[in-house]
Amino acid sequence: MKKRHRISIYKESTAGIIFCLPFIIGFLLFLVIPMGISLYYAFCDYGILSPAVFSGLKNFKIMMADELFWKSLQITIFYAVVSVPLKLAFALLVAILFQKTSKATGLYRALYYLPSIIGGSVAVSILWKRMFATDGMVNQILHGLGIEASIPWLGNKNTAIWTLILLTVWQFGSSMLIFLSSLKQIPRTFYEASTVDGAGRWKQFTSITLPLLTPTIFFNLVMQMINGLLAFTQCFIITQGQPLNSTLFYMVHMYNQSFVHYNTGYGAALAWVMILIVGTVTAVLFATKKRWVYDGGF
């Protein structure tokens, strides 16, 4: 009797394992194994066309002397640090505006979410490139407003990065949805009680809404920071790092090294340094969590 019971448990777990297998196999084949291989390549001289040769720390020494490594790292961090808070602030603002429900709210939410669905795509990047061209739409709108402008937004090293930041901020939809759902969870009674106590809307926002949203802000901040550091498409399609490498994202530098110059071992090393940076940034954010994130109940 006892034995039979054990066999049936065994069978249950077998079924579970089999159900998980497709995912596990995919995870191993397409994530873990390639990552392992890339870790190995990071310590190799490897140029795709011929087999990898182990070369120790050489790639990392090259990296320390690589001007573009430092420059692209600096640009990417600037881009992430500027665009993420802007994006979150914008997402929060719009989420608060949409809190009041009317008949059109659903439509507006969908419309504002749209850029997030299409925003990372190649098509939007090409559209952006055209909009910010010297003879593009942005300058024409400025012209229509009576401002005589033929500004080469993309061709100027001081403005080019901002067009990319703007594209990112524009894609605030997914953060907005997350904010919306947590805004709805804040009990209305808090606001009613505070109104009785004489709090104005701004006071309510800073003393009730914002503190209770901190877990969501934290989540959004971590996710968007990671996305920001790994940004690729915008730069690759719109500017290719030009002008004067002022928009060269780290990931594009890695791509160029790996697949244009065939320094694939060096590219793998760049990738692993970025993994360490992303890990560190996330760890630092988590370390500050205690200081500002409210994790009590309502």
């Binding site: 089999i18 497709p22 066309l49 010297t134 061709g155 004067l244 697949f259």
Partner: protein, 457 residues
């Protein structure tokens, strides 16, 4: 219980198919030279083909190019397949060609027939990724009896011929003839650099049109060696530049510097807004005002047709030689591109027959009509000329009557590790155009950093 069993069977089936799919891919990408695995691989591939339709031989052909070339190439492949029952094609083209080809080669799944470029041929041949075509040339599978020895030799790396050129090309300065005619400006072939700069100034003064030099057409890698050839110098030596000092690079950068200082070079910010080297987006044919347009572009002769097609109606695009101190020595005939057979190919014989068809079939070349360059077989080049448009004939005339009589032999291909040098030349040129570097500073940086890149193994 029954339901559970069914679920088990279903998941097992899904898992199995997933595993099966993966293992097939694994088998094909595994790299071994033992005969057994090679046989397994071939069987697998044949099976894959079989499951498609009958036991046809399926040749994959891979090329890069614009829409026109894609259509024409697909058309000749269809024609060949119709003539040769049992052979089918998987034609693929890619904009990101070299990235894809490199990754395919890493997986040992390179297509049977690949388009090759003079810049990359030594790299691929030296790494053993291309089949030596000498046996096919000797046994007549690829008939080269009407091809000049010089052209055939451009496909040589070491002891073998690894590629057959499929069109002859030469550097060509494409220019807006209508504009110059209207302004009453005369130019002639074999202009010197000083004469060329005078034309740039005159055009700017009279019409407001500016000039876009080789950076804008993505041909810096051709123009710099072209200038050096006039001094009898090569660009690349063995593991370093062939020139003795940075001074030899100053002339190249100073053309850009003068252009910016004197105002006749287009604003470099234009280049960020476009894809450099794309005919449709070139300042020669596209722009909103004379200020954003160029009277000329540094291209190659076979691009005349594409450029003319991109030009506004009523604008005639013509061509002449690149300028240098001595264009008659600088100029050269160039293989516009090649076809090679990869060592991954299971059907090299059939692939060689296809290359012969492209080289020697009149019917085939009546479709291609020299889009890749003037056909290398003199017989074919002659035969198709009646069907060519005036622009296509202009290209043939340029190759045969302008370049061929007054040119010298092409430089050896750039070394395999030169791609970082190309990028370096571009980024330094960009800095000169933005006024961040003088010509002398750029030349010094190129000499120093370029030598470092070339010294790398």
């Amino acid at each position: 219980m029954k339901r559970k069993a069914l679920a088990l069977v279903l998941t097992a089936a899904i898992t199995g198919s997933l595993l099966g799919g993966c293992s097939t891919a694994e088998e094909q990408t595994r790299t071994t030279d033992t005969e057994d695995t090679a046989a397994v691989k071939t069987d697998l591939q044949k099976e894959v083909v079989k499951s498609g339709s009958s036991d046809d031989i399926k040749l994959s052909v891979f090329w890069w190019g614009r829409q026109l070339r894609n259509e024409k190439t697909q058309q000749i492949l269809d024609m060949y397949a119709a003539e040769h029952p049992g052979i089918t094609f998987d034609g693929q083209f890619s904009a990101d060609y070299w990235t894809r080809l490199a990754t395919l080669s890493a997986g040992h799944t390179m297509p049977d027939v690949v388009q090759m470029d003079y810049t990359y041929i030594s790299q691929y041949a030296e790494k053993g990724l291309l089949t030596d075509l000498t046996p096919y040339i000797e046994d007549g599978t690829i008939d080269v009896s009407n091809v000049s020895e010089d052209i055939l030799e451009t496909g040589r790396v070491g002891d073998g011929i690894y590629a057959i050129c499929n069109g002859i090309n030469a550097p060509a300065l494409l220019y807006n003839k209508t504009l110059l005619d209207e302004a009453g400006i005369q130019i002639h072939d074999y202009m010197t650099l000083e004469e060329f700069k005078d034309v740039c100034r005159e055009v700017y003064e009279k019409t407001g049109y500016k000039t876009s030099l080789s950076y804008g057409s993505n041909t810096n890698g051709d123009f710099l060696p072209y200038l050096l050839r006039a001094q009898g110098k090569l660009l690349y030596g063995d593991g370093k530049f062939a020139v003795d000092s940075a001074d030899d690079f100053v002339q190249f950068f100073s053309v850009f510097e003068d252009g910016i200082k004197e105002g006749w070079h287009v604003d470099p910010s234009l280049y960020v807004e476009r894809t450099r080297g794309q005919a449709e987006q070139d300042c020669l044919v596209y722009g909103s005002s004379p200020e954003t347009m160029s009277w000329c572009g540094f291209y190659h002769s076979n691009q005349l047709v594409a450029m003319q097609n991109s030009a506004p109606e009523g604008t005639d695009i013509a061509m002449t030689t690149f300028p240098s101190d001595n264009p008659e020595i600088s100029n050269y005939l160039k293989p516009s591109q090649f076809f090679s057979i990869s060592t991954d190919s299971k059907y090299p014989d059939e692939a060689a027959a296809l290359i012969d068809y492209i080289t020697n079939s009149e019917e085939c070349n009546n479709v291609l009509l020299g889009e890749r360059g003037v056909p290398i077989s003199s017989v074919i080049s002659e035969a198709i000329s009646v069907n060519q448009s005036p622009d296509e004939q202009e290209v043939v005339h340029y190759i045969n009557d302008v370049v061929t009589p007054k040119s010298t032999k092409i430089n050896p291909p750039a070394p395999g590790n030169a791609s970082e040098v190309f990028s370096l030349i571009d980024s330094l040129t960009e800095k000169v155009l933005y006024g961040e570097l003088t010509a002398e500073e750029a030349a010094a940086l190129l000499f120093e950093q370029g030598n470092e890149y070339l010294a790398k193994e």
